[in-house]
Symmetry: C2
Subunit: 122 residues, 2 copies
DNA sequence: CTCCTGTTTTGACATCCATCGAATCAGGAT
DNA sequence: ATCCTGATTCGATGGATGTCAAAACAGGAG
């Protein structure tokens, strides 16, 4: 049980846009978990910090500083993001490094694609 | 105050991807509200029903049936989606019709765009 | 081995949220 | 005017969630 990259979210249908065919109840429930993980400002900033880090990964030790929160709280938020399948962690010696899961992000991107629209800026 | 399309969410920066430059605290807070609105299975299905309706809009009277929930609860969820700027409502006579706000959806789509990736399927 | 540092888990607590019934508002019909 | 139906708001309640301190775990250094 020391696997840090375990995803607990079932990988349901990948790319059907929200404006597509009817969303099944279990698909909706599964997607809701992902959005719940994103529904906290701290987790959003954590994901942003990780995704924008050079090398595509960030050490937990660098993620605690930017916040006025205790280490357990940061660890809790990282766990939520991990269980949502948005990030994955790896231990290297003393430190743990997190990186985004690209498939999860691109999947979300496709979710909001609109049928007729190519790109609507502002 | 009978305006049903009032958006209470400040329209912060439109399209900077999550993997882009550092997310400011207030941007993160504002975005978190939007994701919180999406973090409920019922609201996800409501948005899906609305977005996939012929004519791009759906009557509230048609949104109550698919759920085993009371009308006040559905109304509550619609209000949350509305206040997040994801849908907008209009009263026509006895009935109220909701439609998605395209800019809100395309903005979210851009959020998850990955720097190097054009499109990663599956 | 014993420390020490980084990270996660545990347990508790305050706050928030989804849901309901009852009441209220909006608008058409009689 | 009075009714009736659709939709929202109000008030209450059980359950989920963010936060912390304390404890436990992981791994390197002395």
């Amino acid at each position: 049980m020391s696997k840090l990259q375990a995803l607990e979210v079932v990988d349901a249908g990948c790319c059907a846009p929200l404006s597509g065919p009817t969303l099944a109840e279990d698909e909706a429930a599964e997607l809701a978990k992902v959005f719940k993980a994103l529904s906290d400002p701290v987790r959003l900033r954590l994901l942003n910090l990780i995704a924008s880090s050079p090398g595509g990964e960030a050490c937990v030790c660098d993620l605690t500083g930017p916040f006025d929160l205790s280490a357990p709280t940061i660890s809790h938020h990282l766990k939520v993001l991990r269980q949502a399948g948005l990030i994955q962690g790896e231990r290297r010696g003393t430190w743990v490094y997190y990186r985004p899961v690209p498939e999860a992000l691109t999947r979300l991107s496709g979710l909001f694609a609109l049928p007729g629209l190519a790109a609507a800026s502002a």
